[in-house]
Symmetry: C2
Subunit: 360 residues, 2 copies
């Protein structure tokens, strides 16, 4: 059997619908989960249009230190002025009935604080990756959400995205046989002055920011937890950008089954996110794998050659993750990527830095 | 500037000619270097037709334990019966004036012995990769050839191949800026019973056999010698194939400049040889990179997007390496990939096995 482009587009739509849409019988009565968006930067600017494409999510509040910007966005999303918060009065969100959940889109160092404050205000939390800047922070976020009885999901958009899900399902179906080895990488050449280069705000360099996609992929592709890591970090460009964080990280992982993964990440080079999976009977090559759209899967295994461009357009991945989390809230389900998933990556990141002899 | 497919084909032909052809003025009088082919297996069966496409090389003797096979090939290449040797009478080749050089295409464990015996017989040596099964063997081969005053070249065909050379020249020209990170891999799912699975004959698993392409590429692409390695080996398939050698190796390398490389090799999975190079201004992706033909280079850097399939057909890489070595013999030049190049890879292989905690 082989997939045509058309069949795949259909499949993409179907699998997206199946993974994120509520049961048909529940649709008529389904209310929309209201989100407070914390941090109005680049990623929030994609998430918000994403919610518009869902059937069960909407933006109902904004949290920002920049009121004019918040007012502009509020007008666009019909958010009342009374639902615009700043970082000082944020905790009063507890009394805002229109807010069921928050979307934490702040610099990494603020994830823990705002997740915990949101939980204390009784709001469910969808938090961007990386979950936080340390294992201890991740653990306290999980504990706070548990104790407040709210749900916590980490926004691993690729785990809700049909091309990545297709790769996972091909592997699980046995199509490419026993997986032996994986390569993956993701990086870019960072501009000076970004908050990501400030270790206090970011918690680390490209590894925590984009390398985490390769790390997370190696885990969801194998379905295993890494047994151990070896790693190098390096700085090549002594141009002032890398005084606090590394420029490159190269690591190799061994999984309990014996599967190995070799990965790179960089803040100094052009590296479209990709992964290659090598099985005993065939292979899967996804490139781009982690972009917001334009993903492309190629695979070959007995009797089949796949060439599947994903024609969905940004922000479909954000739509999918919002739809999923809102559905979990509406139907009291556990998110596919809960806080524990973010914690597992943070533990791996810690191990990689430790292996490289750098501090996490 | 951007290359069309046609321009590239022309370039391929030109650069091939430039790198391997003798000066025009010398052409009329150029004689053909006579090769004794030692070991009549799969790789010799490609090298021999390769020599036919050169202007300066020919097969003039055969060394084999299988006389009927040798007689068939001798008829095909006009080799007189008196120039067919076996492994016992091989040393008498010293008196065969039609033999200038040998091509060593034996199992790895026999490379050192036949290189040294050939050198003692006064013949130049073109030896297949991996050069040998240990650093000590490589050193003794270099010493033997030096002492006999004969040339020694390791048959790193990719270093004479236009697509790989194009990648190197793009990097050296600065087109993609400062190289930061490289991924590379090469492997296949090996059949039971191959001599490559017998450690005494092979000296190691996929690392010495095909992983060496990724290792060698990381060295010629960067133009640097690895500073250190981290590595894992693993065996997943306990089906009797991997009692002596590893099934998978995953390693990461750091070069003195800070460039990092993450590489895999396998005897258990389908892994078309490839490399990706990430620079500050652009990238190069060659896939396939190490096959006998069908190589394909894609690259992107300011103002340029390259998509360059190499339309040359096997055995053009063997033609190129034979033409180069014969030219070195005819004009007393040092081969581009001398014994020292094989020794450097062998030292790296040793380091990778040591890093993985396995014996080399």
């Amino acid at each position: 059997m082989s997939w045509t482009r058309r069949e795949f587009t259909k499949l993409g739509a179907l699998s997206l619908a199946a993974s994120v849409a509520p049961p048909l019988s529940a649709q008529p009565a389904e209310r929309k989960i209201g989100y407070a968006i914390i941090g109005l930067g680049r990623i929030a600017a994609i998430f918000m249009p994403g919610t518009r494409a869902t059937t069960n999510s909407k933006v109902t509040a904004l949290v920002s230190g920049h009121r004019p910007k918040a007012l502009r966005i509020a007008a666009d999303y019909d958010v009342p002025e009374s639902s615009i918060y700043n970082y000082e009065n944020f905790d009063s969100i507890i009394s805002n009935k229109a807010v069921d959940a928050v979307y934490v889109a702040l610099p990494n160092s603020m994830h823990a604080e705002y997740t915990i404050r949101a939980a204390k205000a009784g709001k469910h939390v969808l938090c961007e990756k990386p979950m936080a800047t340390s294992v201890a922070e991740c653990e306290s976020m999980i504990a706070a959400c548990k104790s407040a009885g709210v749900k916590l999901m980490i926004a691993y958009r690729c785990q809700y995205e049909p091309t990545n899900l297709k790769a996972v399902s091909l592997i699980r179906s046995g199509a490419i046989g026993q997986v032996q080895a994986i390569e993956s990488g993701f990086g870019f050449n960072i501009k000076p002055g970004e908050w990501r280069l400030d270790k206090k705000m970011s918690g680390g360099g490209p590894l925590v920011d984009v390398g985490i996609y390769a790390l997370n992929a190696s885990r969801y592709l194998t379905g295993e937890e890494p047994e151990s890591f070896h790693a190098f970090t390096s700085v090549i460009d002594h141009d002032g950008r890398f005084k606090q964080v590394e420029e490159n990280v190269s690591w190799t992982t061994k999984f309990p089954s014996g599967i190995v993964a070799a990965c790179n990440t960089t803040y100094g080079g052009q590296m479209t996110g990709f992964f290659k999976v090598h099985g005993s009977k065939g292979w899967i090559d996804v490139n781009p794998a982690f972009n917001y759209d334009g993903l492309h899967l190629r695979a070959q295994y007995p009797g089949t050659k796949l060439d599947l461009p994903n024609t969905s357009r940004n922000p479909y991945q954000f739509q999918a993750e919002a739809q999923h989390f809102s559905n979990c809230i509406l139907h009291n389900l556990e998110p596919k990527t809960p806080g524990e998933e973010g914690l597992r990556d943070m533990r791996c990141i810690s191990e990689i830095y430790r292996a490289a002899g750098a501090s996490a």
